[in-house]
Symmetry: C2
Subunit: 607 residues, 2 copies
Amino acid sequence: MPKIIQKEIISERLHKLRDKMKTGSIDMVILSNTDYHNSEYSSEYFKDREYFSGFTGSAGTLLVTKDNAYLFTDGRYFVQAELQLSNGEIKLMKSGTKDVPSISGFVSECAHKSDHVYRVAFDGRTVSASFGEKLSKTGNVEIEDTFYAGDYIWQSREKQTFNDIFSLDVKYTGEDTESKLNRIRKYMSDIGAGIHIVTSLDDISWILNLRGRDIAYTPLFFSYLIITDKKCTAYVNKSSLSDNAKISLKDKVEFAEYADFYKDIKSVVSGNDTVLADKNKINYSLFKILSDSGCKVVYRMNPSTKFKSIKNNTEIENLKKIHIEDGVCVAKLMFHLKRLAKNKETLTETDAAAFIDGLRSEISDYVELSFPTISAAGPNAAQMHYAADEENQSTLKEGEMLLVDSGGHYLRGTTDITRTFAYGECDEEMKKHFTLVLKGMLALSDAVFLKGCSGYSLDILAREPMWKEGIDYRSGTGHGVGYMTNVHEGPNAFRWRYIPGVSEYSELLPGMVTTDEPGIYLEGEYGIRIENELLCVNRESNEYGDFLEFETLTHAPIDLDLIDTELLSEREKELINNYHNDVFRELAPFMEGDDLNMLKKYTKAIK
Amino acid sequence: MPKIIQKEIISERLHKLRDKMKTGSIDMVILSNTDYHNSEYSSEYFKDREYFSGFTGSAGTLLVTKDNAYLFTDGRYFVQAELQLSNGEIKLMKSGTKDVPSISGFVSECAHKSDHVYRVAFDGRTVSASFGEKLSKTGNVEIEDTFYAGDYIWQSREKQTFNDIFSLDVKYTGEDTESKLNRIRKYMSDIGAGIHIVTSLDDISWILNLRGRDIAYTPLFFSYLIITDKKCTAYVNKSSLSDNAKISLKDKVEFAEYADFYKDIKSVVSGNDTVLADKNKINYSLFKILSDSGCKVVYRMNPSTKFKSIKNNTEIENLKKIHIEDGVCVAKLMFHLKRLAKNKETLTETDAAAFIDGLRSEISDYVELSFPTISAAGPNAAQMHYAADEENQSTLKEGEMLLVDSGGHYLRGTTDITRTFAYGECDEEMKKHFTLVLKGMLALSDAVFLKGCSGYSLDILAREPMWKEGIDYRSGTGHGVGYMTNVHEGPNAFRWRYIPGVSEYSELLPGMVTTDEPGIYLEGEYGIRIENELLCVNRESNEYGDFLEFETLTHAPIDLDLIDTELLSEREKELINNYHNDVFRELAPFMEGDDLNMLKKYTKAIK
């Protein structure tokens, strides 16, 4: 059961908010949990929407008007939101269902009905540039983007936390900041931009070869960056800078106070400048400052976003090593589960998660988990974003499967792996579905393609075995993975549906790392996902162009107990056998005793 | 050997052109073979570029300046252009090769070097809106879009030809013009457009259920169409209208003279109107008239383009029937060739083409070929656009293959089919490559996919068997096919590389017909292509969405003599056997004697 906040508490918070709205003649306030950098995970300081609504899901937006309040969230959270909003103060708006408008459409409707100019307020630093721009262009709407609801009412809020910032050695990054800045300045010069503003924390961390701990599951730090031809200025909480961070960037980067960014930027940018910025990453406040300055803004993807998606040789060598040690943890969990099943001993979802989290934490250069471990037994695994907790969780039953999706951040890189294990003997339908997922995963990993292909061109290879059975998995097939930054990090991805003007588009290039994670999710029954990370590599170049292929980074056994070999082609058997052969070779040095026996058993060639 | 025009003749034509340029203070003239409707095939009247350059290829643009002349063409025509331009008057510009700029880039360079405003002239009716607009925005360029080089100098030119326009009965079209206009007007109303201008001949023919014979291999007629809420005016050569054409559209469509369109349109459109037009289809002259009128133009794909790509039930039933009779012709050519090979008798490329063209012309509702039959023996088939002629052609040799790509327009629809046949015993490598092509063709035809997929999502299914061998076929996998309009007709297609902002994008929908034609082309050795037409159909709808699949329209044997069964999976054998089973069932009623025996032999199940 998710935590439910008393009706009286929510009522009081909303009451105070509406008083404040009245003072400023505000008709609607928009609240989210987003930080100033549009980070995927949010730290406590930014959880305005959660504070005012009681809804704790990772995605959702709260709209408060004089008389009503509306919480927009998507299908993953309908059940949870219904519970957490059950006190009746706030109406649930099920995004994506019939008759529910988009947020901007809803604002437009409200403004249309209003007999005066409709004043919409939010903290522009927590709203994306594109969304804010869209609202600002809506008929009869006036925007107030400096409405700080948390500051006004959430008195108990802790300050924004700033943790130590440390340098990542070149033996991990493979390229120093000077070289990275040179490449960025070359790009700026090519497009005629004199100033480049970076606000996305992954880009900044990559450029500066620094890391922090300001956001859960994301070893980044709050910061802004301004790059010009001659200067590079990083806005950070200066007192958080460790000595090695300062030394590593001496004479290359100037540091300024994080809190001064919005004040400073107004004097940095003038009407004569050409500024490069990424409209998908900057927030609306900055967008407005740039628009008001009269400067020319070239909106393009940050060059560092593409640069960092192409891992260099040092990063690749590190990744290969850490994926083996990370795979050892997954294999050990698998063997632990198999032993328990054999002995009819029980295993709970949180026990399984604690087991693997504990193993990861023992790896020498472990930093933190790359996301909260998903450990889902039986029907729970049909929920793609299931989160077990101590009070509310399942114990594995004989004949059920356990889905474990987990990963870590290490100095040697970031991992993300999913395995689905049989606890006892599973039925034929489970095995059939597991085998279909495996066929899809293998087909994509076996792809050969010309340079110029995007993930949209390849996605169907993973999906076709499921589609032929009339099943879809309602999610992308895979996402890019950062190096000690974010576990979800583009621009590369595997998706089936491209929507012109909406979807991002990026070609696959050697050095990119993308997950390959098809699945089958049957509500009320079970969920299956098999996820490996694929490194894009060169295969051959000839008169037809440059052919690329994938090398699998992830090394952990795929549960042979769940494979129906009758459904596999000869090529598929060859692929799984070659993979398990590699897994044995790489993992065996880290195994002993019964684990080593189990590794042998679970990497045995199938016929 | 292509026809070469004497140097003196070309010199004289260019000399006269330059005199005319001098009179109008023109710095550069741009000449193409394009008609006013951007049709794929051009009629003689429009071949300005051919007249002034001597180059007869289907793609190419001639730029004439005071002192020089440049012919831009693509890789398909480098050899031919080098021969035809060998007199030295005109410099060949190999588009797509290193250091050769785009045409607009070249114009920009010339304008940049000029010490006065650079005046560029062309017939704006033969230049696309987008290209003309781009030139008009080029620095230091002034456009003169009413420069009619052909009228001025090409005195011997015949008049634009207008042939009979006839009505296509609703038993062929399945929907009358009133219903089509209703759908278009609904679309116009939805987007707030009061006037819709259509200039593409396929759209007009489809809307009016009329056909003509004004362009080779394309049963269309020169025309423009203006649709408003109340009125529909067709600009045609009125004396070409047959009685049945006039009767079929009585009280629904008004006819005006083709020659009056540009005069009339200026009075039809005013500053208060909202006009719907397709920027990819209208020419620059019309674009300029619309821009100058001050009206609001909504540039979108013509609604009829999408409507007509989705074949209705009547069209589908007709297509299924004609594809059987059309397939009979292909099968008979195959059996003819096999008998000749057995008896060591010879067959030339043009004999093979004449044989199949003759068979098609005997079909009851045959109208014309849908494109010039490609009949290419041995190494000639490696050229994708090979055209044999009586003087310059090959005779099949033992162990060679013959590639025949052909099709017809019939009242019951348009066909396009390619088969590659073994003449005698072919070697193992040929068989391997033929089998790879077959695997790709079958994989795409066997696809199951969710509604929302485009041809970009599916293309890799056809290409993967070749790509895994490091081979590509350097063309799209397939194109849409019209119904008694164009053999190449979008928006549907199978392509592997999507280029944002450049490529068209369209989802695959039930009723669309697209070719599936992978191939392997080895220069100097041989060429293989297998082409079937696929009809997109519903498969099942469930909680995941609407699943679609394909039904193969084309019915003709695929040469078993060239299949290496060792390379086929069980599923692939099942697919080819099912296909051949259908082919036998459908074609047998049209066969007798040895042809029937051969049909049995060449549709036999493989094990």
